[in-house]
Structures are given as C-alpha cells and as structure tokens.
C-alpha cells in the first residue's frame, strides 16, 4: 500500500529558501516539559486524605413551593486546594441526589451501575455546579409516578464514595410544599 510519505508530495531542499530543509535540527528542543499535575497529585496525596479539600453543597432558590411546582436545586462540588484532586467512587456513578432518601426521587431501584471503581476528578480549585429539578413526583414503580404530599421534604446530595457521610461528602436541604 502506498503511504503518504512515499508520494513525494513534500519537496525538501537545503538550498531553496522556501522549501523545508533536509538537515536534521542540530540542537535539542529547549521547551520545558509539562508536569502531569493530576497524576502527580494522585501519587502524592493518600486516598484517605483526598476528601478533605472537597466540599459538597445543595441549595434551592426558595424554601417553599406550591403543590405541583417544580423544585429547582443547585449542586456544587468544590475543590478548595490549588492542586488537582481525584476521589475514588464505588461505581462509575460519581454522585447522586435523593429526595427523602430515595435516589432521584425513585422508590424503586432505577439502575444498577457496573461493579467497578470510578473517579471524581477536580482540577485545581475547580468548582462543579449542576442544576437539577425535582418535579414533586416520586417514582413508585418502573412505569408509575405519584405526587409528593404537602409538607417538608429533604433533598440530599452525596458523592458516591465509601463513608461519604462521615467524610463530609454529603449535604442536604429541606423544602416545604404548601397548598
């Protein structure tokens, strides 16, 4: 098979001013090698300490919502260190939100993530913000949803890591649904 470098498409000439030369460069490249800082951080910072600079927060714009009104909320995950950090998670599902302890407001399991480790990676000082919405419905079976009762409901967020709660990788907020 003919390769592109055998095609003589590029004309090289040491004498000609506008053609690339045939000579090899006499000096070595002087550019500074870049440091793979996230790999370095993974090597230097022990796993048990990696959660320390990471904060998790969930907030809603208001405390009270009318019945049937969608409840928007913002999830903020932040790395306070000026170094990249990666937190190992128990599955490729990196974090999850719950309503009254039900994952994504579903009373039935909605998915079964594969049994392998994932990584929640932060750049230095990175802040990740996700906007979500709970439409005041609970999924009660694979195909059925039911409206939430009036009263207080807790929206929680947790990084899907082992001992997330004791390591401070969770947060929650309460909203009231009023008639």
């Amino acid at each position: 098979m003919r390769r592109i470098y055998e095609s003589n498409a590029l004309h090289r000439d040491d004498e000609e001013a506008h053609a690339p030369s045939e000579k090899e460069r006499p000096t070595k490249l002087q550019a500074l090698r870049s440091v793979p800082s996230s790999t370095l951080s993974d090597l230097l910072i022990p796993r048990r300490l990696r959660h320390l600079p990471v904060s998790v927060a969930v907030e809603t714009p208001e405390d009270e919502y009318g019945v049937g009104e969608p409840v928007p909320f913002t999830v903020t995950l932040r790395n306070r260190l000026p170094l990249p950090i990666s937190i190992p998670t128990v599955s490729p599902l990196l974090w999850e939100w719950t309503v009254d302890g039900n994952v994504e407001a579903a009373e039935v399991p909605i998915r079964d993530p594969p049994d392998e480790e994932g990584t929640l990676s932060f750049d230095r000082g990175e802040r990740k913000e996700f906007r979500k919405r709970w439409d005041q419905l609970f999924r009660v079976s694979e195909r059925e949803w039911e409206p939430a009762d009036a009263g207080s409901h807790t929206i929680g967020v947790a990084v899907n890591a082992t001992d997330a709660e004791t390591r401070g990788l969770t947060d929650e907020t309460t909203v009231r649904i009023v008639r």
Partner: protein, 358 residues
C-alpha cells in the same frame, strides 16, 4: 430465525452531570434482506443503537443489559477476536461522515482491499481486482486509476461511495448505515440511496438505515422504528406509518415536512426540544411537547403496545406505539387527522393536528 434480534438493549453513559440513558429497553428484529429504518431527532439514540450492534460503544458508555442476537449468536457474549471477525465481514457499517471514516494517509483502494484481504483471505492482487470492480460498481469513474488516490482527492459524494464499496466488500448479511447521506446534497443523496437499494437487492443484504429524514425512509425502507429520547415510540411497516401514524410524535414529525402543494401559511413544528437524557421527564418522555398530553401522561410511562389488540408489543408485533391512548385510553383521545392528496400511488399525506393545544 431472524437475522438480527435486539432484545431489551440498554446503553448508559456515566458522565459528571449524571447518567445518560442513551438507549432504554430497546427491542427490534431485522429479517434477512429487509430494509429497516430508524428515525428520530438528534439525540434520540439512533447512532448509539447502531454502534451497539457492532459493539463499538466507547467509554464512558456501557451496554448495561440486553441481548444482540445475530444469526442466533449473542454478539455481547463474544470475545474481542470473534466480534472482529464479524465486523466488516458479516455486519458492516456506513458511517455518517465519510471523510472522517477514511484514513487520510492510506489510499482509498488500499483501505478497501485491506478489509477484503483480512476477511476473505484474498491475495493482494485478487483484492485489488475486487476493489476496482466494487469501486466501478458504486459509480466511481476510472476506478482503476482512482484506486491509488488518497481520500482528499475524492469529492464528498465519491468518498461516501467508497465507504459504501468498503461496506459491500465482504458481501455482508447486514449493513448498518448511519445517516449515509446527511453530508451530501440532494442530487447525490438520491443517487446514493438508489445505489444502496439496488446493491442491497442484488446481494440480498439487510440494511438498518438510520436517518432523521422521513423522506429517505419512505424511499428505501420496508419497516420503520421511530425513536424518541432513547426509546422506541412507534414501529410499523413504512406504508402504515405514513398513512396511519399512531404516535403523536410521529404525527409531529410528518407534519413538519415541507410540501410543495401545502396551502398552510406556516410550517407546523413540534414545540420545544428533545429532553436532556440525564433528566427525563416523568411518565411519557414526550408529554411536555405533546399537544394531546393529559395529567396521566405525566404519571405513567406507556409501554410499546400493539395498536390493534392493546396488548404489550412483542418482537413480532406488526404495528406498535407507546402512547396511553392504546392502553388506558386518553379522555379526549388523539384528535389529529391524516389527509391524502393526489393520485393513490403518489399520494402525499398531510397531518392536521387537533386544536386542543390552542
């Protein structure tokens, strides 16, 4: 035995924002020599479905569950070397963008011949002869001379033809064509579709044609599956889908096709956009855009149902749709109508939505 049977296929992508369920519980069947169309908007999961058939889903995507039976063998259970012997040989793919699919540093002929040499054990001389024959068959002029041209020396239409020649090179039983004509102008599109149809008839090859153009489907396919937000919403023979669509989304797609003899001032469109697959709406995923949606559509997700019997659809169901109208029934029903104009053979159908959204 069907050529390809996809059963309860679920493909998910684990991203930072959440889990994208690109294909959710999808089942379909393609018979030998059949031309099967998959249609839907961008992001409906059509391409992911196609890539799953060839097991080409890359990280962070995963085929989480389901079976893909090709001639009775589950492709998902096969080893990497077994699947490689099927890819390009028994199942081949025509990718969306021919320029990206071709390797720029190898000659076009060399790339086609490589597949023939690898799968059919031809000598390089025999492979070259067959490649030239194939290039000629797909309408590349002076095929012998163009054999050693690089992809950049081909026009867009010629590159697409070369990809079709590559797909046909090993006489596959199934060609998965992922929007093969999207990057081309309409005249070339018509030529390529004609060629694809002729070649498929000649070699008795089945085609899974993915497109967002219903006109292309009408031209080429025998049966169609309409997808929305990763799920099939309607499956039907092509004539029935055009003249008796059962799902509001299909009706919306049909009514948004511009027609020359159309008397309406404005083209009807489906309001809104496809939902974010990370956060699907509750109940029927189409309810926020559906002019016939009722409260129960927000609470219950309709299964794919046989539109005649009202029972849950199976792989063998002729015409099925996923709308509560066919299970529990909507209180005001689906009030659209289909008007056909012109002579019966070349009739054009017009879709008039109900006025409940006004």
């Amino acid at each position: 035995m069907a050529l390809l049977e996809v059963k309860d296929l679920t493909v998910r992508f684990y991203t930072q924002e959440g889990v994208v369920t690109a294909v959710d519980d999808l089942s379909y069947r393609i018979e030998k020599g059949e031309k099967f169309g998959v249609v839907g908007e961008s992001g409906a999961g059509k391409s992911v479905t196609a890539l799953s058939v060839l097991r080409l889903i890359d990280s962070p995507g995963r085929i989480e569950s389901g079976e893909i039976l090709f001639k009775g063998q589950d492709l998902l259970e096969m080893s990497e070397s077994e699947i490689r012997s099927i890819r390009g040989n028994e199942i081949s793919m025509i990718f969306q963008d021919a320029q990206t699919a071709l390797n720029p540093v190898y000659t076009v002929g060399g790339q086609i011949a490589e597949a023939i040499e690898h799968h059919l054990d031809y000598s390089s001389k025999e492979a070259k002869a067959r490649t030239i024959q194939l290039l000629d068959r797909v309408g590349i002029p002076e095929a012998e001379e163009r054999f050693s041209d690089y992809p950049h020396e081909f026009s867009g239409g010629m590159q697409q033809r070369a990809i079709i020649a590559m797909a046909l090179s090993c006489d596959p039983d199934l060609i998965v064509a992922d929007e093969p004509t999207t990057a081309l102008d309409v005249t070339i599109e018509a030529q390529i579709l004609d060629e694809l149809r002729e070649l498929a008839d000649e070699f008795d090859t089945a085609i899974q044609l993915i497109t967002h153009d219903l006109g292309v489907i009408a031209e080429v396919c025998d049966r169609v599956m309409v997808m929305y937000a990763g799920k099939p919403v309607e499956k039907a023979p092509v004539e029935e889908l055009y003249y008796d669509p059962k799902h509001p989304y299909t009706v919306g797609l049909m009514s948004s096709i511009p027609r020359v003899n159309d008397k309406r001032d404005r083209l009807q469109t489906i309001p809104g956009v496809m939902p974010d697959l990370v956060e699907l709406p509750s109940g029927c995923s189409f309810h926020p855009r559906c002019p016939f949606a009722e409260e129960k559509c927000t609470r219950t997700e309709p299964p794919l149902t046989d539109v005649d019997s009202g029972e849950e659809a199976t792989l063998g169901t002729e015409h099925s749709a996923a709308c509560l109208e066919y299970t529990e029934g909507l209180s005001q029903g689906l009030t659209y109508s289909v008007e056909t104009t012109g002579p019966a053979d070349g009739a054009a159908a017009q879709y008039v939505d109900g006025d409940r959204d006004e």
